[in-house]
Each structure stands twice: as C-alpha cells, then as structure tokens.
Symmetry: C2
Subunit: 336 residues, 2 copies
DNA sequence: TTGAAAGCGCTAACAT
DNA sequence: ATGTTAGCGCTTTCAA
C-alpha cells in the first residue's frame, strides 16, 4: 500500500494525499475527508525510508552511551541509565521521534565505536551521555558532520561551544554540607568519587565552599578520595572514623550506603554519633535504615530536557551551544 | 556526496560502485581499487534511506520494553535491562544492525504504545521483552504485518508459534532445591514471586519437583507467595521463620537479600540455622554477607541469542517458531 | 485548490 | 566485467 494507491482509491492525486498527511498546503475539506477515510480503511502508514530520502530527515535521534555496560553494572549504576532512557524516550515520542541506541562494548575500540555511530546517517541528531573518559572526539566529529548533539552531564574538557544538560553539583553539595552545619556538626568529612570524574570534583568543590562560607578551616584529613561504589564507601568511611568526624557528606548514595554499614559496624549510631548525607536519591536512599538524607537529582528530567533541546536544535528553533543546569533538591531524612 | 559522484571520480558507473560497496557481482580488481580509494578519500557512506527504499531492508531492529521504567526501577530490576541491552546491541552491531528502542510509559495507553511501534516501518524485526502482562496483542499484530519477532523471556499465554528465548526455570529451581537437600536440609521453604508471573510459577514448580523426587511431602505452609523485591523477601521470610524451616529457596536474589536480613534480625545464623539460595546471580549476590548461593542466568547471553535468532529470521535462514531455553548454573557460595 | 512531473540516492535486472 | 535503465515511495516546485 503506497501513496499512489491511496490517491487512486480516494480519487485524488498523490500530491493531495501528501498534503493531507503532512497537514500542509491547501486541501478542501471534502478531499481531506475522502483521503482520511481511505487511509484509515487501509491502515496506511507512509514509508519512512522514502520520506527520509526526500526530506533528508529521519525523525530519529541517537542515544550514545559510551560506558561499557559492564562498567555500568559494576558501579550499580544501571538505575541512572534506565531513568535517563525513560526521560529521553518520553520526550522523543511526544514529538514523534524514534530513538536509536548505541552502547559501548569492552571488546570494541572506541574509535571503531565512534565510526559506527558517525556512519549511521540515519539520525537527525545525537544525545551523548557523558562518560568518565569524555567523548570530545566524537562530539567534534559530529560537529564536523553538522549533526546536532547535546551532551547529558558535564563536559570533561571545556571544548568550545558544548551543549549540555547537567546539574549544579557544587551548589547542591554546598547546600548539603550547610545542612550538616545547621545541625551543629563541625567535624564534617567527605568521601569523594574518583577525581578523574567531573562530578566528583564539583561536589568536592561544594563541600569546600560550604566550609569556607562558615569560616571553618579545611582539614585535608577529612577528605577521602573514594569511588562511586559501596565498597569504596565502606573502606573510606573506616578511614574517616579513625580520624574522628561527626558528619559525612558522601558524593553518592552508593558511597553513603557503604559508609552507613561501616558506621554501624563500628558500633556508632546514625545520626547521633555521625550524621550522613548522600547524593542522587537512588531508590536505596529511602530503603536504608536509617533512611538517607540526600540530594535529589531528577535523572529522567535530565533526559527530557536534553531531548527537548536536541529536537529544537534539529528543527532549527535554537542555535548551539545551549547549556543548562537543572536544579536539585535536598531531601532530609533520618540519617541527619 | 552520493554514489553518482563517487562513480564519476572513479571513472566507473554507479553499478560498479554499488557492486564494490555490497561485495556482490563481478568487479575487476582494478576497478575495485579505484572505487575504494575514492570512497576512502571522500569518506563516503551510502545513504541508508535510499538503500532501504529499494532493498526494503533497513538494517534496524526494534527493542520493545513494555514495562514502564518506573516499574523497572521499583523492582530494582534495571540490572536486567542493562544486561539485556548489552547483549542485544553487541550481537546486532556484530551483524551490522542498529537498534531502535521503545520503552513503555505510564502515561501512555498500551494500545497507543503498540500502535506507535507498529507504525514504525523502519524496522526489519522486533525483539520483545516479556512483561508481566504479556504482549500477545503486539505479537499477533507483528505477525499480521509479517514482521519477524522474538520474545525475550517466556510467553504468558501459549499463543501459537511463539518464538522465544528463555531459561529453564523449573530445572534450575529443582537443582537449587536438590542442592539444599544434599546439604541435609529437610524443612525447606520457598518464597515465590507474584503468581501472575510465569517465572514465579515455573520456579515454584521446580521446588515441588525436587521435593517430590526426594519423596518428601509438600507442606503448603512452607510456600509463601511474595514478590520480586527486598521488602517482600523480608516480610515473607518472617512468616517462614515462624513456621520453622532450615532452608529457603528464594525465587530471586532480591527476595533472598530481604530474607537474609530477616534471618539475621531474628538472631539466626546463615547457613548454620537456615541455608539460603537465591536466583539470578545479581551483582549483590556476591556482595551480601554471607555471600549468596544462587542460580546464575546470563542475561546478556539471552539478549545475544535472541538477537541472533531474530537476525536469522529476518534473513530467512530459519523459520519461526524458534524456542530456546538457555542453560543456568548453580553458583554455590557461603549461604548454603 | 489541485495535479503533473521531477528527483531524492540507491539497487538490480538486463543488455552488452 | 561493466554500463544502462527502471524503479523504490515520497515531497515539492510549478503550472493550471
């Protein structure tokens, strides 16, 4: 069933059918009705390949997840990607775009991965999820190919005119630490993620800012560089406990979960002996005992925003770079 | 840059270029070289829309995840989907197929969701992830449209000629319970998932088979219907403990994690007082204390297999239905 | 308000 | 071994 047959059955020309489908140009109400009826009857759907060939638009965007999934699973980070995909697809479908998924594989060289993506001319634009290593090369090549893109997360290096959607890590962290200060804590430690990660660096920055704003000295002994996992959190917390602290700002809920365990294993009470604040508001945050005070970031919303921006870029409504920082929210629970 | 320009620069006809690109038909080594050089120089990539239009093949498969992501997150099940996507994309890319992602949204009616998928003629075939509710309607419509599909997981209803890739839940569960029997346990309870779920039913079935094979009576009091979550596991385990058991087969690791907590909260030791076996081998299984004996299913492999089958279906190498049960493996750890 | 006709970039008979 | 040619199904001038 193609547009010609529809036209024949409706007794009009192909152009008229096309106009009806696309809602453009002048079509008499009568013709429109006839065409619509035939389309319904025949359950006709325009061939996307033919349409893409002539319009040079596919109504498809790409989602690039550079992290190997093994990496994702190891860091118990799959929550993040699921929520992101949720937000992205919700917004994309709203605007009648489909989503092509590209995920990194350990066995595959990054250059080959990038080339595979670039070769796929089937996309009108690309959403790139920020990874630890950064995807500067891919972004640059996309720009060279004049393909719109938006980075989800923060750029590792400040390459010119990066469009991104992220959160204000420093402000959020500062608020979290300020909250601990308001609870009367003065010996506040922090467990960071790996320092090759921009989120880690910015969250540490916020911790420092809060202390500085309160005129408290910065004690390097109270900063432990960890990584975004329970085990790291557990080990790092043990170190902090030896050094004597009465509160901890953990750079992620996973870290906080490990830290919580370590505190309890040491026979200490939360929040009485040590108050604890996490980051992310993962599902576990409200399931831990005690429940965890944490910084909520809406990952799904991040995905939605990024998609909305990308589609606007594609449709030429706006021009890059578009840089967006989404608000976060401190969720106060039992652990503080 | 299109095939015509490449042909001109290489001093051959478009057909020759096409033959070189597709590696079909006779091309002299000399012509091939010339064409290849120009293609490299120009960084030429054939237009997929034009190609799809004439070949009626897009080299794209769809991945349908009917569960709303909220559902996924609530059940802490995002691991499953991440691993699946990993396996699917790995295999798809190996065979030069791209993947279009469709995820369910709470706000969207299922019929509309299905229609959206069906309308997208851009796919050569579809992978459907089995959901609690079943996707019979979608599968039937796909069949009507002559689009190849493979179900990942087990069909809820036995609709005719379903192609699927699943695991042998009953055999795996039977083995797990047999293992507990071999450890001398005789008062073995089980915590199931919700009974509207086929995996739950089959795993319970395996539990029953193992007891029957050992000539042990089936005590309904030792079967607690729960759901696939920590909290359900915790609550269900409390019930079982009151009824007196010396071992538990939990239908998932999440259930086992909750059960483990309940056992320890009751002041009992694992495995001394109560032995525990889970199902799935999630990352947490080896992180719990004690580490969890469990049934390992390779989710990534499930994705790979399903994809391989779908691509063979698409390329007409095989005919449906193709029904595959993947092997599982009992991983014995400290909890038993 | 409608239709005719050209052409998007490619593949695949068919002819040579 | 290579080139010519006729579409694939659609949109989009342009003319009527």
């Amino acid at each position: 069933m193609n547009i010609y047959e529809i036209a024949k059955k409706a007794g009009v020309s192909r152009s008229t059918v096309s106009r009806v489908i696309n809602g453009e140009g002048y079509v008499s109400e009568e013709a429109r009705q006839k065409v619509m009826r035939v389309i319904e009857e025949e359950n006709y759907v325009p061939n996307p390949a033919a349409r893409a060939l002539v319009t040079k638009r596919s109504q498809v965007i790409g989602i690039v997840i550079p992290d190997t999934i093994k990496n994702i699973l190891d860091t118990e980070n799959s929550y993040y990607y699921s929520a992101l995909l949720q937000g992205i697809t919700a917004e994309a479908h709203l605007r009648d775009f489909a989503t092509l998924l590209w995920v990194g594989h350990e066995s595959e060289d990054k250059g080959i991965y990038h080339r595979r993506i670039l070769k796929s001319q089937l996309m009108d634009g690309v959403l790139v999820v920020a990874s630890v290593t950064g995807e500067d090369q891919l972004l640059r090549q996309l720009s060279d190919n004049k393909k719109p893109w938006v980075l989800i997360g923060r750029p590792v290096h400040e390459i010119e005119s990066v469009s991104f959607v992220g959160i204000d890590n420093a402000a959020a962290s500062e608020e979290a630490v300020r909250h601990l200060l308001s609870r009367g804590r003065r010996r506040i430690g922090t467990i960071t993620g790996k320092m090759d990660n921009i989120d880690s660096r910015e969250r540490l920055q916020g911790y420092k800012q809060a202390l500085a704003a309160a005129n408290l000295p910065l004690d390097p002994n109270r900063i432990v560089e960890g990584c975004f996992s329970r085990n790291c959190g557990y080990a790092s917390m043990k170190i902090l406990l030896e050094r004597g602290i009465d509160a901890v700002f953990a750079a992620s809920d996973l870290i906080a979960a490990g830290a919580l365990q370590a505190i309890q294993d040491a026979g200490l009470r939360i929040p009485d002996d040590v108050a604890l604040v996490g980051f992310d508001d993962l599902p576990i945050a409200s399931q831990l005992k005690p429940t965890l005070t944490t910084v909520r970031q809406s990952v799904a919303e991040k995905g939605e925003q990024a998609t909305a921006i990308l589609l606007n870029l594609i449709e030429g409504r706006i021009a890059p770079p578009v840089q967006t920082l989404l608000p976060t929210q401190l969720i106060i629970r039992e652990s503080s």
